[in-house]
């Protein structure tokens, strides 16, 4: 009997890393997270490299989004969450008692699964973070809005209607606006929680192209359910299952020569 040959996903050519990229930037050590008594993340240690796209994959409920939200302390908003272990960005433990969470979130931006533009104009959406930081000069704001919208590949589509409502944009445009809003405050790291899961294929591919472009300047961590997407855009992949980190490494390796049986089962679509 011939063995069943499982289709292997082909890892498409990655864009080359930017110069100077690849040094470790985020160091997660022995991180556990509890919702009340239940443990959602179990003893996770992972290193995330600078100006590289790292994908978190795994079945629903495996803890990948929870881990992502640990990196800008969005889990702080949920009652009854407790964290053990440490997350270091550069030299600093972001869970140390003297950390200014507001300052942390300026350095670690986030794009959410469901695009969530503010019910304000396109311009005001992008300028929001800068205005919070006290930027008042109109010319400075104008320049930053244009630069950020350009960075999110949205400028040409919206430059004639900057002052109309952001809610009039299509789903894909709204998500790129959210990316523009995030990069406007010039973070070092951008966290993306399934940013394309609600988008059609064309809008998805535009967002993916954008991510490949953004990694020149930003460190990107992306949660995705879509295996093909992980292979298309990420340099590194971490596979999670039931709150544990099963395996991590170069995307090519995870998808073609995984060490763990469970990783292989997942990336080849045998479960998930």
């Amino acid at each position: 009997m011939a063995e069943t040959v499982l289709p292997k996903l082909e890892v498409t050519a990655q864009t080359p890393l930017a110069e100077g990229a690849g040094a470790s930037l985020i160091e997660i050590s022995n991180l556990s997270l509890f919702y009340g008594k239940s443990r959602a993340l179990k003893d996770i240690s992972l290193s995330i490299r600078e100006r590289v796209v790292t994908a978190f994959i795994g079945p629903s409920g495996c803890g990948k989004s929870t881990l992502l939200r640990c990196l800008n302390r969005m889990n702080d908003l949920i009652d009854g969450v407790r964290i053990e272990g440490s997350v270091k960005i550069g030299e600093h433990d972001i869970y140390a008692s003297d950390v200014d969470v507001i300052e942390l979130r300026k350095r670690v931006g986030m794009v959410f699964q469901k695009s969530n533009p503010f019910p304000k104009s396109i311009y005001d959406n992008v300028a929001y973070g800068l205005k919070l930081q006290g930027v008042k000069s109109k010319s400075e704001l104008d320049a930053a809005v244009e630069q950020s919208l350009n960075g999110a590949a949205l400028w040409d589509e919206v430059k004639d209607r900057l002052h109309s409502s952001a809610l009039g944009l299509s789903g894909g445009q709204q998500q790129r606006l959210c990316i523009a809003r995030a990069i406007a405050v010039k973070p070092e790291i951008i966290l993306m929680d399934e940013p394309a899961s609600a988008l059609d294929p064309i809008a998805t591919s535009r967002v993916e192209d954008l991510i490949l472009e953004l990694k020149k300047d930003f460190t990107i961590v992306i949660v995705t359910h879509n295996m093909q997407q992980a292979t298309r855009i990420s340099d590194e992949t971490a596979f999670f299952y039931m709150g544990e980190l099963i395996e991590s490494g170069p995307t090519q390796k995870i998808f073609t020569m995984p060490k763990q049986k469970r990783t292989e089962d997942y990336v080849t679509g045998r479960f998930g």
Partner: protein, 320 residues
């Protein structure tokens, strides 16, 4: 062949003939009748007031400050009552909206959801809504006038009572306490309706919780907050019991000029006309006219508030 067999199959398949469903008929009839009854009562009340009040509603009537004997239809007027009622509703709104909104913000945005303290505050707010209005009147007398007012007089070294007596300020504050639950509940509902994603997006950009509430949450909740304000105004405009001991006057020769003045009030004036008149038959036309003025004023105050809310909604929609 096939078509034939399909046809015979359809014919052989009998649905039961629909029978008269007495239960449904009876129940739908009952709901209709109940609605009709309410409409009929409303029509009778409004019709009666308009038919009897309208002929007596003259410009002289609404623009005259009456003499001490205000039971004479030929010379009386209700200008001070219109002004008194309007002022107390406005002053009440100025107090009830900010305090109610801030309380609702605390309950939805800051208070821990499942703590016993939050539960007690919520229960207290709900119970406040069930307290009879005369009790608010007595509370206003005891707390605002006898406690706060008298202490203010002492602190300010007033020779006689200035604040330690019934005043438009105390009546308005008493009404504000009474309508507080309406504003809190309406604001809470509109705050809860704002998607969590918007708050998260703002926080993720480095906004503090306070900045998020002021810049994102409250502007979105504004129409809902104003609905609360409208309900509070409707409730307060016609209330008499809470102002009975706290500010309303039987008669004043001049209009109120300060917050420490007493005032005349439309609702209370209706009560006075119908119980204190020496000749009830002679007074009846002005009684009807006064009631009609009260209805129109309540409607007008509501209308202004609804107009403002519509403008806010339109502005929000243009942006969002």
């Amino acid at each position: 062949m096939e078509a034939q067999s399909l046809k015979s199959k359809a014919q052989s398949h009998h649905f039961r003939t629909r029978q008269f469903d007495f239960g449904s008929f009876f129940f739908s009839g009952l709901t209709g009748l109940a609605t009709l009854l309410i409409l009929a009562i409303l029509a009778v009340i409004l019709g009666n007031i308009i038919v009897n009040g309208w002929p007596n509603l003259t410009w002289h009537f609404v623009s005259t400050i009456p003499k001490k004997d205000f039971f004479d239809p030929a010379t009386t007027g209700v200008l001070p009552m219109i002004i008194g009622t309007t002022i107390r509703v406005f002053v009440m709104t100025i107090f009830v909206l900010p305090i109610g909104v801030i309380t609702a913000v605390y309950l939805t945005e800051y208070a821990p959801t499942h703590s016993p303290v939050t539960r007690i505050i919520r229960a207290a707010v709900n119970n406040l809504a069930g307290v009879p209005s005369i009790v608010f009147g007595l509370f206003g007398l005891g707390f605002f006038i006898n406690f706060i007012g008298r202490n203010m007089d002492q602190l300010l070294h007033n020779p006689g009572p200035v604040w330690g007596q019934p005043a438009v300020l105390w009546a308005s504050l008493t009404l504000a306490v009474m309508t507080m639950p309406v504003v809190i509940v309406a604001t809470e509902e509109s705050l809860k309706a704002i998607p969590m994603g918007l708050r998260e997006a703002s926080l993720a950009l480095g906004a503090t919780k306070l900045e998020t509430i002021i810049r994102i949450v409250l502007p979105q909740a504004l129409p809902g907050i104003m609905t609360g304000g409208i309900l509070a105004v409707s409730r307060a405009a016609g209330e008499v019991a809470p102002i009975l001991f706290t500010g309303v006057a039987y008669y004043m020769a001049s209009l109120p000029g300060k917050l420490s003045d007493q005032f005349m009030d439309l609702g209370y004036h209706v009560f006075v006309l119908s119980t204190q008149s020496p000749d009830i038959e002679k007074t009846r036309p002005i009684l009807y006219a006064t009631v009609l003025v009260l209805l129109i004023l309540t409607f007008a105050l509501n209308f202004v508030a609804v107009l403002i809310r519509a403008r806010v909604r339109k502005k929000l929609r243009a942006l969002g």
